[in-house]
């Protein structure tokens, strides 16, 4: 009997030891399991941002494709709302998508299931995105559209619908927690609703991390600077005075007309004329009321430059090509051309233009005309008030400055585009001497040498190969032109993540 008792004690001790070890092991396992689970979900949360940014990139690419010069059509695979059926239907074409956006409607895109980024390793198991794009009415500036993109990135999370409190001090307020995981319902839909659900809806999901990014995309136009000279050598810009004003600032500039009176370095009014010189120049002699940028130059700040001098700027200036709508020109432009309406502009091609006048369409107060000239432009140009005239030309441009009669007194209404000449050839944009007068126009002609004689004030923005003005010329940049002109590209203007 005593021996049996001894054996029983041994067994008891062994069982107790095993139980103790099991408790210790279970405790360790539980702790490690929680930590591992938390780490995996944190990784998923981080990767959801990658998915969201991929969504914004896709939306951004479609904005660029909508320009029509990349060979890829925009809005393929996107959907629009069919208001009669209250359902989302495929966008039928790029024009269809553009039209929906111009009407203030939204397009949506869901990454197809077979394009999801799947993984069976550690971290997230599935990555995908949903993108929405629209353009509120206030996003149409100078005739060019800005876009708003909202992309939500999703990351499937491994493990069960459980996670540690992601806060070292036990904070439980939703807004104070960094990693908001959708363990059972989509929290964005619950807060805001979406294209298919009202706010407050509980849409059940398998564990996922969802992060949302909103980006604003702005158009790039040639006229964000007063003067851009692309010649890589020599002294491409020789002018006496460059300053700025804003035709949209009717407080400092009544009627939107240029005046040098409000110009003040202290207030920043009239001193925002930026000049970019693509050559490594060592000096800049103009009185510049703004900043100077050079590509490898050695210009130092002097009293003649009110802004900053930056010598390490390299810009890629897009060339100018003939418009995609051009047709074979059969003869010179008539003396009078009637503009089309804003909805249905005029498009016409000519072999040359001399002393042309573009008038409003009958019964309209606004009009738009787009002309393509394969040869020279001479004599003069008159633009009626209310008409926006765009001219693409391949030959030389020559007339007296006073013969550019833009009756809108606003450079945005007369846009001149000098098509890049063939390699080895040169072109000139020559404003000959004449009586003093303000000339309002914009010029995007990176292959042209712009020569200006006489005593004119030239108001607008100018992208040229070289620019030379004699001692009496003055150059006034209209700050309101920053978003005007043909769109050559798109850029990111703002990036915001929705932290809620």
């Amino acid at each position: 009997m005593k021996r049996c008792v001894t054996e029983g004690n041994t067994l008891l001790v062994a069982v107790l030891c095993l139980a103790l070890l099991s408790v210790v092991g279970a405790s360790v396992l539980q702790t490690v399991s929680h930590r591992y689970d938390y780490s995996q979900k944190a990784v998923g949360w981080a990767e959801a941002l990658n998915a969201a940014e991929a969504g914004t990139n896709f939306g951004f690419a479609n904005c660029v494709w909508s320009l029509g010069n990349s060979g890829t059509g925009a809005w393929t695979g996107w959907k629009k709302l069919d208001t009669t059926a209250s359902s989302w239907v495929p966008v039928t074409s790029q024009a269809d998508g553009d039209n929906e956006i111009s009407l203030g409607n939204r397009l949506i895109y869901d990454l197809p299931a077979d394009s999801h980024l799947l993984s069976t390793g550690e971290g997230t198991t599935d990555l995908w995105y949903h993108v929405e794009i629209d353009s509120p009415a206030s996003y149409l500036i100078s005739g060019n559209r800005w876009y708003r993109l909202r992309a939500t990135g999703y990351a499937g999370l491994p493990g069960i619908a459980r996670s540690n409190n992601d806060s070292p001090d036990g904070a439980s307020l939703h807004n104070n927690i960094l990693r908001k995981l959708d363990l059972k319902v989509d929290h964005f839909i619950a807060r805001y609703g979406d294209y298919a659900h009202a706010a407050g809806a509980s849409v059940a999901v398998t564990p996922q991390a969802a992060r949302r990014v909103e980006v604003i995309v702005r158009p790039v136009t040639p006229f964000s600077r007063a003067i851009v000279a692309v010649a890589p050598t020599g002294s491409p810009v020789v002018v006496p005075v460059v300053d700025s004003y804003s035709s949209s600032d009717t407080v400092n500039y009544p009627g939107g007309m240029y005046s040098s009176v409000p110009r003040n370095v202290s207030t920043g009014v009239g001193v925002n004329a930026s000049v970019y010189v693509n050559a490594p120049i060592s000096s800049f002699g103009a009185n510049l009321y703004g900043s100077l940028e050079t590509n490898g130059g050695t210009v130092t700040q002097g009293s003649n430059i009110t802004g900053t001098v930056t010598n390490n700027v390299t810009l890629t200036i897009p060339g100018v090509t003939a418009p995609v709508w051009k047709v074979a020109a059969t003869g010179p432009a008539p003396a009078t051309i009637t503009a089309g309406t804003m909805v249905s502009p005029t498009y016409a091609s000519y072999t040359s233009a001399k002393n042309i006048s573009v008038v409003l369409p009958a019964g309209q107060t606004t009009g738009v005309a787009n002309l393509y000239v394969t040869g020279d432009i001479t004599g003069g140009i008159t633009v009626a008030a209310g008409v926006t005239l765009r001219i693409w030309f391949e030959g030389n441009f020559s007339m007296k400055s006073r013969d550019i009669n833009n009756l809108n007194n606003n450079a945005a209404y007369l846009q001149l585009y000098g098509v890049d000449p063939p390699v080895g050839q040169s072109r000139t944009f020559d404003l000959n001497s004449g009586t003093p007068q303000f000339s309002y126009f914009t010029l995007d002609a990176p292959g042209y040498d712009f020569v200006n004689n006489g005593n004119p004030d030239v108001v607008g923005a100018f992208v040229v190969k070289t620019l030379g003005g004699n001692g009496n010329t003055s150059w006034h940049y209209d700050e309101a032109l920053a978003g005007a002109g043909i769109v050559t590209d798109y850029r990111l203007a703002s990036w915001v993540e929705d932290p809620r």
């Binding site: 702790t31 001090d169 807004n175 203007a493």
Partner: protein, 220 residues
């Protein structure tokens, strides 16, 4: 007293004193070993777990700063690199019920403004407490309403936090970023003092340093 028959004498098959002393000694050594092992195991486990939690806190702080800095309009570093102030877009309209994202105002010059220009929320990251109980905190101040302070790390790991100019990583002077001609990114470094540091090595903290350079998406 009558003697009991030999077969009725109580058993004397017991341990001798020597045997008991030896067994007690051996048992004591074993027990001490077990206790010591268990205690050490606990210490190691607690040390490893604290280390994990500290590194986890580091990543949380970097993720928090990353989220704020990516969307920031501008910012500044002060207090000997130990305070990071970020100016954020006023993206959420808290006056609505429920709060909703605002529509940004855009301008021809390329600017985008959420809410009222000049009135933007801020987020300030800094060290709170004193050694050896320093933690990293975030103070969020909205355009309306009171500030919210949250502690991003446990205090016991004695965190250190510094924000450096990538163009001058050795400098401790105050600097601003995000504006014209200013840095477009900030290098954030976070370290802590590991608890499981029996030899009190001076390099223990250095080995915990995590660094991340974060780019402002909205820099000019």
């Amino acid at each position: 007293m009558n003697r009991l028959p030999r077969n009725q004498v109580p058993s004397r098959d017991a341990f001798t004193l020597v045997e008991i002393m030896i067994s007690l000694t051996v048992g004591g050594i074993l027990l001490a070993g077990i206790i010591l092992s268990f205690t050490t195991f606990q210490q190691v486990f607690a040390g490893v777990d604290d280390y994990y939690r500290a590194t986890s806190d580091q990543m949380r702080v970097l993720d928090f700063i990353g989220q704020d800095m990516r969307r920031a309009i501008s910012g500044a570093v002060s207090n000997g690199t130990r305070t990071l102030t970020l100016t954020l877009p006023d993206y959420i309209d808290e006056s609505q019920n429920p709060p909703v994202p605002r529509t940004a105002a855009v301008a021809a010059a390329g600017t985008v403004t959420y809410g009222t220009k000049g009135m933007q929320p801020t987020a300030v990251y800094t060290i709170s407490g004193t050694a050896p109980n320093q933690a990293i905190t975030r103070v969020y101040t909205p355009t309306t309403g009171s500030s919210t302070t949250i502690r991003l790390t446990m205090a016991s790991a004695n965190y250190q936090f510094s924000c450096l100019n990538p163009g001058n990583p050795g400098g401790t002077a105050n600097f601003s970023f995000g504006g014209v001609g200013q840095p477009t990114s900030v290098m954030v470094q976070i370290s802590f003092q590991p608890k499981f540091n029996r030899f009190n090595s001076a390099n223990a903290r250095t080995a915990t340093t995590v660094s991340s350079t974060i780019l402002l998406r909205n820099h000019l």
